[in-house]
C-alpha cells in the first residue's frame, strides 16, 4: 500500500518520528482496536486512535448519550443527546479521519457475546466503569490471548495497566474478585473530574499505539496511578500470580462469568 500525498500530510508528524516512520504508520493503518465503553475513557481513546489512523476501530456500548455524560465524554456533543453512544462516537471518529473504518456494537458485553466480538481485534481497550465488565474483559482477553489496556477512574484518581499474553500479570492476578456490591462507589455515586477520562483514556490510546508499532515499554507488570489533587503519578510493580485462577499455572476459571451488576452500575 502506497501513501497518497494527502495521507503523507495527515500523518506527517507520525512519519517524521524515527520510532513510527512509514512502517509504523502502515502498521497503524492495518491494525484494529476494540474500545469497550464509549464513555469518559473510551471517548478520548477513540478520538486519538481515529486521528492516528488505526484502520479499524470497534466501539461497544449499549447506552444513549445523556446530558450528564457531556462533562467528560468529549466524543459526544449536545446535539447528540438521546443518540446511541456508538453512533455518536462513530460520527465523530469518521469526521476526524475518513480513513478509519468503525464497527459499532450497541450492546452490553456479556459472557455470551464477548469472545465473538474481541476475536477480530489486535488490541482491546477497557473503558468500562464497573467491576463485572472489567473482570469479564480480563478473563476473555486472557482466554483469547488478546492484549488489553485496563483502566479505572473515580473522583480525582485514575489507574491503568496493560496485559500482554505471556508477559506479566493479568487484572485478576492483582484484583482477585470483584469487590462486594456497594463496597466501592460507582462514578455516578462518587463523581469524577472530567479531565480524568482525558488523561487516563489518552494513556490507554498511547499503550495501544505503542503495542501496534512495537516500540517502547508497555505498562505490563506495572500499575500506573494518578492522583490529580496531589499531582502525583506512581508506578507500582506487580508480579504475575502463578496461582491466578485465570492466567496461572493451573487455572480454575475456564468459563466466563457474568458477575451480578447493580442497576446503577450500568451507566457509563
Amino acid at each position: 500500500m502506497a501513501f497518497t500525498n494527502e495521507q503523507l500530510e495527515r500523518y506527517s508528524r507520525h512519519i517524521i518520528l524515527k520510532e513510527v516512520g512509514a512502517k509504523g504508520q502502515k502498521k497503524l493503518l492495518n491494525s484494529s482496536v476494540l474500545i469497550i465503553g464509549a464513555g469518559g475513557l473510551g471517548a478520548p481513546a477513540a478520538m486519538y486512535l481515529a486521528a492516528a489512523g488505526v484502520g479499524t476501530i470497534g466501539i461497544a456500548d449499549a447506552d444513549e448519550v445523556d446530558l450528564s455524560n457531556l462533562q467528560r465524554q468529549v466524543i459526544h456533543t449536545t446535539a447528540d443527546l438521546g443518540k446511541a453512544k456508538v453512533k455518536s462516537a462513530k460520527e465523530t471518529m469518521q469526521a476526524i479521519n475518513p480513513d478509519v473504518k468503525v464497527n459499532t456494537y450497541r450492546k452490553f458485553i456479556t459472557s455470551e457475546n464477548i469472545m465473538d466480538i474481541i476475536k477480530d481485534y489486535d488490541f482491546i481497550i477497557d473503558g468500562t466503569d464497573n467491576f463485572p465488565a472489567k473482570f469479564l474483559i480480563n478473563d476473555a482477553c486472557v482466554m483469547a490471548g488478546k492484549p488489553f489496556s485496563h483502566a479505572g477512574i473515580i473522583r480525582f484518581k485514575g489507574q491503568l495497566m496493560t496485559y500482554v499474553p505471556g508477559e506479566g500479570p493479568c487484572y485478576r492476578c492483582v484484583f482477585k474478585d470483584p469487590p462486594p456490591k456497594d463496597a466501592v462507589p460507582t462514578c455516578k455515586q462518587a463523581g469524577v473530574i472530567g479531565a480524568m477520562g482525558g488523561v487516563i483514556g489518552s494513556l490507554q490510546a498511547m499503550e495501544a499505539v505503542k503495542y501496534i508499532i512495537g516500540k517502547g515499554d508497555l505498562l505490563t507488570g506495572r500499575l500506573l496511578t494518578y492522583d490529580a489533587l496531589t499531582m502525583t503519578f506512581r508506578t507500582i510493580k506487580l508480579p504475575k500470580n502463578h496461582d491466578c485462577p485465570v492466567c496461572g499455572d493451573h487455572p480454575t476459571i475456564t468459563k466466563l462469568i457474568d458477575y451480578e451488576q447493580v442497576e446503577c452500575d450500568m451507566h457509563m
Partner: protein
C-alpha cells in the same frame, strides 16, 4: 546521474514542507540498505532543508544536481540503522 545506478526515484515538487521530507523519507524506507534514491525537488526551501534532514536520518548524500529548470535532483544512498 550516470555515475550511480538509481534504484528508485521520487518527485517531491508537488508537495510543501514538511511533506517534502516525509515523502522522501517514505521512499527511502522502501529501499534496502545501500540502494540509491533520486529525489527531484524544487529550488529554494526544499533544497535548503530536505538534504539536511535526510543527512540527519543517517543516510549518505552523494550528489545534488541542478536540472536547469529550477528543480534539483538529490542522489542519496540509503543507510539502514541498527
Amino acid at each position: 546521474m550516470a555515475d550511480y545506478k538509481i534504484d528508485d526515484t521520487v518527485d517531491i515538487t508537488d508537495v510543501v514542507c514538511p511533506v517534502t521530507f516525509v515523502k522522501a523519507k517514505v521512499a527511502l524506507e522502501e529501499l534496502d540498505d545501500g540502494q540509491i534514491l533520486a529525489v527531484r525537488m524544487n529550488n529554494g526551501e526544499p533544497v535548503q532543508n530536505v538534504p539536511r534532514s535526510i543527512k540527519e536520518e543517517g543516510h549518505q548524500i552523494l550528489k545534488l544536481e541542478d536540472n536547469g529548470d529550477d528543480t534539483f535532483t538529490l542522489i542519496v544512498r540509503k543507510v539502514e540503522d541498527e
